[in-house]
């Protein structure tokens, strides 16, 4: 009694292209974030507050701040990115959007890349824009401020990309926030070292093109490898839920 059916399978050409799908993911994340501007502001406030702690806690002397300024700003930026990572996949995981993302026919690592880029635009980029103001407050000299912003501009996307791996791995776990920091901080160290080292070299008048190129290489490496790891981690975390 089984009837004969002709199945109309969906052919690849009617499907949505990868670029379109990536753009949709990116736009949706931006849209959601802009509907809740307070969440965007929090990492920035955190950034400013951590920077304030150092003159208060260590020393407000110009000589100290000149020396330590680039490090302080980089550490504060790193921490505030770290703080925002927990939300990268959490809400999507809780409301089921992530399942639908994983089940899209486009390559998952590219969709993950789109999400990481959205995360950078929402957290890293504002930090870069705010950095000059804080740079002046910690008495960085003219040229150093520009170099600092440049290193942050190259470095913060790396933080978002690597962080996305940790966020994906710790998805759905208890105490995910602390665990996430534990996993990710060691991986952030090279970026931190080159970020601050470049600014310090610049303040001593040394050429920095080489270091910047190296940071660029980090970015390229993170762009090519991190999305694969994140995608694998997301599949694993969803499989477990």
């Amino acid at each position: 009694m089984t009837a004969e059916f002709t199945v109309n399978l969906r052919s690849p050409d009617v499907s949505v292209g990868t670029a379109t799908a990536m753009k949709a993911v990116f736009v949706r994340d931006l849209k959601i974030a802009l509907r809740q501007p307070q969440d965007l502001l929090n990492p920035l406030l955190f950034f400013v507050m951590v920077v304030t702690l150092f003159p208060l806690g260590v020393s407000p002397e110009v000589s100290f701040l000149e020396q330590a300024g680039s490090g302080i700003l980089w550490v504060a930026a790193l921490l505030s990115v770290l703080l925002s990572l927990d939300h990268l996949y959490r809400h999507d995981f809780d409301d089921g959007t992530l399942e639908q993302l994983v089940l899209q026919p486009q390559p998952l690592f590219l969709l993950v890349l789109a999400k990481s880029m959205a995360h950078w635009v929402l957290t890293g980029l504002p930090l870069v824009l705010l950095a000059p103001v804080l740079g002046v407050m910690v008495h960085l000299q003219g040229n150093s401020v520009a170099v600092l912003c440049l290193t942050l501009l190259i470095g913060t996307p790396v933080l978002s990309l690597i962080g996305s791996i940790g966020a994906a791995l710790t998805l759905g776990l208890r105490a995910a926030g602390v665990l996430l920091s534990l996993l990710i901080i060691p991986l952030y160290i090279p970026v931190l070292i080159f970020g601050t080292g470049t600014v310090m070299a610049a303040s001593e008048g040394a050429p920095v093109a080489g270091q910047l190129a190296l940071m660029g290489a980090f970015l390229v490496l993170a762009l090519t490898l991190a999305p694969f790891a994140s995608a694998a981690a997301l599949r694993i975390s969803l499989s477990n839920s």
């Binding site: 993911v25 509907r35 089921g96």
Partner: protein, 212 residues
């Protein structure tokens, strides 16, 4: 007989030292509706997630149109629609934005059609209201609106009738029947007493879950 879309061959899944099911084999044919049954905790949702490709801690084989699914993942995903417990609705977006975002990775659909689909699920007038001000049932209806426009031949629906009122359930049943009559293949779990003409059953939780 039509060629099966998805075939499960000797599926076995173990979770926390407990075998949920073993030697589970069945075929999902076009034009049929399969209801996965079993008591709470028998692994209905897990089975559906395995079929959908979300959970891969199982042994056994899954064949997509006769081939091992792992090699045809993209083709499989393009032709499968999955709705889970969690409907995939963003509270901060409006129903129309949500539907647009969910369809964005699958098929380009004009806004007018999306708007009509939402109307078809009883959300007329709510299309531009943020979802967090809608009720749980209304939020699920946003996700169900996809069923009105989906052209994927295989649907995997976990607890579709949850939080839907009586009239909604009747309409949804009608939708599923029509879909099956037109050659769609549907796998559902539901606690709702579903009686459809061409329904097959896969029953889990035979009680031998502990031994090995």
């Amino acid at each position: 007989m039509s060629e099966p879309l998805l075939q499960a061959v000797n599926l076995e899944c173990e979770r926390d030292d407990r075998v949920l099911f073993r030697d589970l084999s069945f075929s999902i044919l076009p034009g049929t509706l399969i209801r996965v049954e079993g008591p709470n905790g028998s692994g209905k949702t897990t089975l559906l997630r395995i079929l959908a490709g979300l959970n891969d801690s199982y042994s056994g084989d899954l064949l997509w149109r006769g081939q091992r699914r792992d090699g045809y993942r993209e083709d499989f995903l393009r032709n499968m629609l999955y709705l889970g417990h969690r409907p995939g609705i963003k509270p901060l977006l409006t129903p129309i934005e949500n539907l647009r975002a969910l369809m964005a990775g699958r098929r380009s659909v004009p806004d007018k059609v999306l708007w009509q689909a939402l109307e078809g699920t009883g959300l007329g007038g709510f299309q531009a209201v943020p979802c967090h001000s809608l009720s749980a049932g209304q939020q699920r209806r946003v996700a169900l609106a996809r069923l009105l426009i989906a052209d994927e031949p295989l649907w995997i629906l976990d607890e579709v009738f949850t939080a839907i009122d009586i009239h909604g359930v009747a309409a949804l049943e009608k939708l599923l029947i029509e879909r099956v009559e037109n050659g769609g293949a549907i796998v559902v779990t539901t606690h709702h007493d579903l009686r459809l003409p061409a329904m097959q059953r896969v029953t889990l939780g035979g009680g031998d879950g502990y031994d090995r």
